[in-house]
């Protein structure tokens, strides 16, 4: 459809005019200048609204699950009507098999789709916590999903509990979701989760009571909490305190999914106000109650984390044990265990608490046409809570805001198979690993985009348990999420982007320093000036690294340094056939010393406009800023000692290729030690083996 106007919310006088394309998966708008080019995934469309006709045409408002809203004005009403109908259909698939994930073909991911699917294993995760041990064991009672269809096949229960106890307890709990272990703290206090008991007032279940006693006894401390997020007044769904000895109860009111849905709805209305006054905005946010709900979730998680860190076991349940329980258990784990604050850890946490224990992604996220009353932003709320934590402890998390946003979007996008299905059993039936890509493997190829430059895992305040102070004053409105697509409201010089670039820059320079030092040593020897043996020379780079943080890059760097130490200097003389002066100068200068500042760069040289959250990349050779599409090449720079491939722009890539008569990969390139920066590459440059290597590498580092 041509001549479509894309309305700008703040400036309705200046619409951009362009062409709207409807493809099988996306709605694409493009204007002739290529300035604005929103792609909208059909899956992301949450609501369509036809607005009253105007003189210029029929406006169609599209709201997305990523909190983007766009209005297209379509000249002919008939076209608008048709577009409306087809979008309506495309955005609401009836069946899971229509999902984008089944048709999505990635250029950047390895051709074997199964990559990334085997990364997570429940068993490994529990083994990380030291299970099985004398108190906890893995149980196979749910092998055929008969005890509880929404639990994983393998569940972890007290070693003392007999199968009969497990069966009995499952019968007593709603949907068979019996108490199972979710997280075991190193002080042996356990966090368990289940659903509400089918208690009524008088019913009791000896097996369930036995089960809880077993959990209680699995911990040295003899007290035990049940943390129930139910409305006690309604009189159902909680344990009768008289029947459970030695157990304390804590009832916490977190509202149900319907309240949350309405609350977010109200919040979004506030976000869409045109030129609101400060008072209207604040009171709007206030009356939406969204921040209050966030605080309630965080407070509850805090309570659980506090109790567990004090050595007391907790059993958490809401009604079905897959919404509020998933939220609070995962947030509490995050406060307790630094592992869950890493990229890998958050992934594990989502795999465990959300996917394995059956959060109903299909229904809650409305992935297919379901009962609208089942839809609720439970996962969005969880991501929001994580963001609040990152705000309170900016140095405690390995991932950044971009990671959280992309994770959120991809839960809704259905581009990857991970979130298709309500529980493990469903997903198993669909054979997802064979038919779809995994989000995690996709994200691994882009790891450098997700690193928080401020991450300090070994700082005194970030290692170990964090127990933040959730004053209402500290819970903030997340404009990066709910107003993401309004470029006008974001900081103009985002600190973390600048720092990321600076860190990359430092890595590049240090690599160049090592190169220069070795060459200097060689020259000195030629000139007969060599004062000291190479020991001195290899000292300096490691010294300068002393105060450097232990993040991915510097670890990688350290590794490289160690390598360069190992390499005797004489070999270098041989490999570097002595010596062309111009070549040497060229090589030394092939590393950009100064990188262009991000300031005032509104678009890439290719005219592609940078939005607030689109990452800008530097070419490591010329230091100019490019967009993701222009910097898809990776190659080693002659001035880098490590000779690992780094991002360069197309122009520089050509120059480098033309300049070197030899193949770009030098003979001493270390193949046994694949550089982490392969993860930088985005488009089609990663071979499966490389990917596998780099993932292993990453894991090693995360484990360290």
């Amino acid at each position: 459809i041509e001549n479509v106007r894309l309305l700008n919310r703040f400036n309705s006088k200046k619409p951009s005019i362009g062409t709207l394309y409807l493809t099988a998966t996306h709605l694409i708008f493009s204007d002739p200048a290529g300035k604005r080019e929103p792609w909208i995934l059909h899956q992301h469309i949450s609501a369509l609204e036809k607005q009253p006709l105007t003189t210029t045409g029929a406006p169609l408002l599209i709201r997305c699950k990523t909190f983007q809203t766009v209005t297209f004005v379509i000249p002919k009403e008939k076209d608008c009507q048709e577009l409306y109908k087809s979008l309506q259909k495309l955005s609401n698939p009836e069946d899971l098999t229509d999902m984008y994930a089944f048709t999505y073909k990635s250029a950047s991911l390895s051709p074997s789709v199964t990559a990334g699917w085997d990364q997570f294993d429940l068993h490994t995760e529990y083994a990380r916590m030291g299970i099985p041990n004398g108190f906890w064991k893995a149980s196979a009672v749910n092998r055929d999903y008969e005890v509880c269809p929404t639990y994983p096949r393998m569940i972890h229960v007290p070693a003392a509990s007999q199968s009969s106890v497990l069966f009995g307890s499952a019968k007593f709990r709603s949907r068979g979701r019996l108490p199972v272990l979710s997280y075991l703290h190193h002080n042996m206090a356990a966090m368990c989760r289940c659903s509400q008991p089918l208690a009524g007032f008088s019913a009791r279940c000896m097996e369930d009571e036995q089960m809880l006693q077993d959990i209680l006894l699995a911990n040295k401390d003899s007290s035990f909490y049940i943390n129930a997020m139910v409305n006690r007044a309604s009189g159902k769904g909680y344990e009768n305190e008289d029947f459970y000895t030695n157990i304390k109860f804590k009832f916490i009111g977190i509202e149900n999914i319907h309240v949350m849905r309405n609350s977010l709805q109200k919040l979004l209305e506030v976000c869409e106000l045109k030129n609101p006054s400060m008072e209207n905005f604040l009171s709007g946010i206030d009356s939406s109650n969204w921040l209050r709900h966030i605080k309630a979730v965080l407070d509850t998680s805090y309570f659980i984390a506090k109790v567990v860190s004090d050595g007391v076991s907790v059993l958490v349940h809401c009604s079905d044990g897959w919404d509020r329980t998933a939220q609070t258990c995962s947030l509490a784990s995050m406060m307790l265990d630094p592992y869950y604050r890493t990229l890998k850890g958050l992934e594990v946490l989502i795999e465990k608490e959300w996917l394995a224990f059956g959060h109903k992604f299909i229904h809650r996220c409305g992935l297919i046409n379901v009962d609208p009353r089942e839809v609720s932003p439970i996962f969005t709320q969880f991501i929001d809570c994580v963001w609040q934590l990152t705000q309170l402890y900016p140095c405690a998390f390995q991932f950044n805001e971009r990671f959280l946003l992309e994770l959120h979007d991809h839960v809704y996008s259905c581009q990857f198979g991970n979130f298709l299905g309500n529980c493990e059993k469903d997903r198993l039936g669909m054979k997802l690993p064979e038919r779809t890509y995994s989000l995690w493997s996709f994200m691994r190829t882009r790891m450098t985009d997700y690193i928080n430059p401020l991450y300090l895992p070994n700082h005194t305040i970030t290692k170990g348990v964090i127990l933040p102070d959730f004053d209402a004053q500290r819970i903030k409105f997340w404009r990066g999420m709910y107003n993401r697509y309004e470029n006008g409201v974001h900081p103009r010089e985002p600190v973390s982007e600048v720092l990321c670039a600076v860190k990359d820059h430092t890595v590049s320079l240090k690599d160049n320093i090592v190169f220069l030092e070795t060459k200097l040593a060689t020259l000195k020897r030629i000139l007969g000036k060599a004062e000291t043996p190479p020991a001195d020379e290899s000292d300096s780079p490691s010294n300068s690294l002393e105060n450097h943080e232990n993040d991915l890059e510097s670890r990688d760097k350290l590794k490289l340094d160690r390598k360069s130490k190992r390499r005797p200097i004489l070999i270098k003389d041989d490999s570097f056939d002595i010596i062309s002066s111009t070549l040497l100068t060229d090589a030394a200068d092939s590393v950009a010393v100064d990188w262009m500042s991000f300031r005032n760069i509104k678009q890439c040289v290719c005219d592609y406009p940078f939005e607030h959250f689109s990452r800008k990349y530097h070419c490591w050779r010329c230091g100019v800023v490019y967009c993701i599409r222009c910097i898809d090449k990776q190659t080693p720079l002659p001035g880098h000692d490590s000779q690992r491939p780094v991002p360069v722009c197309k122009g520089c890539y050509k120059i480098l290729k033309a300049g070197s008569s030899e193949p770009a990969t030098p003979s001493r390139s270390p193949s046994k030690d694949p550089p982490l920066n392969i993860l930088n590459s985005r488009m089609g440059e990663v071979s499966p083996t490389q990917l596998a290597h780099s993932i292993q590498d990453l894991e090693v580092q995360l484990a360290e």
Binding site: F281, P394, C395, P453, Q473, V489, E493, L527, S581, L584
Partner: protein
């Protein structure tokens, strides 16, 4: 404080100090465990020392105390001190009588009537003076900075007779003589006729400031005033007059800077919204952007005036300069801005900052006008984190010193009063203290990279935040924030060092290469 000064204090203030020394007092401070120690009340300070590690646990200026609350539990007195920097501390004093004594001493000493009795007059700096802050930002040197032939310095107000609240030297259009200025002054409230505030070199447009015209009921005109403005404007150009009066009344309605310290959780947002502070922030930023837009985009000169021309007017003019002028975003430039627009411009610091938000008595002239300005600067700082040479601690430090200080900079209401008290001779300037390399170090923004552009801040409600590190400073655990800045500093430092090293090594390499080439040891 030297012993001599202390002795002098004791003599001078002995009538107020009934209990100079008291043992067994317990101090509760935010983020510190309670300590017990000896409390001393001197002429200017409340001091508490546990005498353990040879450190003072508390060293608080009386001037910093805004409001004081007494409570008695049994025979112990609880003294809660609410400070102007929003800190709240509590002292447990074992005897009721002593408690009352201490309380009355602090109350009296925190509201001294005579400026000459205040601490800056007694404070003797022990650090080495590299430069006298009192002389650092003279109008003469500031005029040379703007390098324009159309403006001159007039000494028409040398005796502070034309306008008691204007400085001695004033920048006015060259074509206008002092007689016209005098007549124009008669037309403006408080004699504050239009003067130059900022010259935007790009378009040669200007921001002028003045007070409201005394038009009276029959809309009187004043030829001289018009002439002055026309001269300022230049021939054939148009200008705007931005009248901030409607807005200023809103501020005058005393925006009680949200008493955030109350930890009432549930109603936090509604209280934040009803206190209206962020609303004022937004409006002020809006007006400043409007002015900046006229100057930079529309090519118009602007005259800003409120009622008196020393509250909202400097807020608007100085904020517009922060947006427009890269110099104002450096440490020295910002100091010059405060000096020019606020101190020489006659913002009545003594009246406006004599009390703060906790004080509930009659406070007709009190208002956080300057704080609102600093808050707005911080908002812009948030959005352009790399464009400012200073960090937020710098803003913080200025805020605290404006309310209570050992330095004389923010004493009095205008230059005339300052001259009368000979502040420049008798007290030390804050700038003298701050502008020394070892102190400045603390206030440098590691991310700073000079930005010569006009910076347009976002003013949408979503973009404005509460200045937590000021208003919630005593409620928020400082460690995570400190860790962030530590990390940033390390990253930037590491990068800087690497860069220098690369340059040095490349130079060395080039030299050696040359040598080797000459000796024929290597090829071309």
């Amino acid at each position: 404080m030297s012993d001599r000064a202390a002795a002098f204090d004791a003599m001078e203030f002995v009538e107020f100090i009934k209990t100079p020394k008291l043992d067994g007092v317990k101090l509760h401070q935010p983020f510190h465990p309670p300590v017990e120690g000896t409390l001393c009340v001197t002429g200017h300070h409340v001091i508490l020392s546990s005498r353990k590690a040879n450190t003072e646990e508390l060293w608080l200026l009386h001037m910093m105390v805004d409001y004081l609350e007494k409570k008695f539990i049994g025979s112990t007195g609880q003294l809660t001190l609410y400070c102007k920097n929003f800190m709240v501390i509590q002292l447990d004093i074992p005897s009721m009588e002593e408690c009352l004594n201490v309380a009355s001493s602090i109350e009296n000493l925190s509201s001294l009537q005579s400026v000459k009795m205040t601490y800056p007059f007694f404070y003797r700096s022990t650090f080495e003076k590299l430069e006298d802050g009192w002389l650092a930002f003279q109008p003469e040197s500031e005029l040379t900075r703007i390098k324009s032939d159309n403006w001159r310095l007039s000494y028409v107000n040398e005796d502070f007779e034309v306008s008691p609240t204007y400085p001695r030297a004033i920048v006015v259009p060259k074509t206008v003589d002092d007689e016209i200025l005098k007549k124009a002054a008669a037309f403006r409230s408080g004699g504050r006729f239009p003067i130059l505030s900022y010259l935007h070199k790009k378009h040669d447009t200007v921001i002028m400031r003045s007070s409201q015209p005394l038009t009276g009921g029959n809309s009187k005109r004043c030829r001289e005033d018009e002439k002055l403005l026309n001269a300022a404007l230049g021939i054939g150009r148009r200008g705007y007059i931005i009248d901030t009066r409607s807005y200023s009344s809103a501020v005058a309605a005393k925006s009680k800077a949200c008493k955030d310290s109350n930890r009432t959780t549930d109603k936090w947002l509604s209280r934040l919204s009803s206190c209206g502070w962020l609303g004022h922030v937004k409006e002020l930023l809006n007006v400043a952007c409007l002015v900046a837009q006229c100057i930079d985009r529309e090519n118009f000169s602007v005259l800003v005036h409120g009622t008196d021309g020393f509250d909202v007017t400097p807020q608007v003019t100085s904020l517009a300069q922060v947006i427009l002028d890269p110099d104002c975003r450096t440490i020295r430039g910002f100091e010059a801005l405060v000096e020019r627009e606020w101190l020489q411009g006659g913002h009545p610091f003594a009246s406006r900052c004599s009390q703060s938000v906790f004080y509930s008595g009659k406070t007709k002239h009190v208002g956080p006008v300057f704080l609102l300005f600093l808050d707005c600067v911080w908002q812009i700082h948030q959005q352009f984190s790399c464009s400012f040479e200073f960090n937020e601690d710098f803003l913080h430090m200025i805020f605290e010193n404006a309310y209570a200080s050992q330095f004389g900079t923010f004493l009095c209401n205008n230059e005339a009063e300052r001259e009368r008290l000979e502040l420049a001779e008798k007290t030390t300037s804050l700038w003298t203290f701050v502008n020394r390399p070892d102190i400045l170090q603390k206030y440098l923004n590691p991310l700073f990279k000079s930005n010569q552009n006009v910076i347009w801040p976002a003013v949408a409600p979503q973009s404005l935040c509460l200045w937590e590190s000021t208003y919630l400073r005593w409620d928020i655990e400082p460690a995570p924030r400190a860790a962030v800045w530590g990390a940033i500093l390390d990253i930037m430092q590491d990068d800087k060092e690497s860069r220098l090293k690369v340059y040095a090594l490349r130079r060395e390499l080039a030299d050696l290469q040359k040598e080797a080439l000459e000796k024929g040891l290597i090829g071309e």
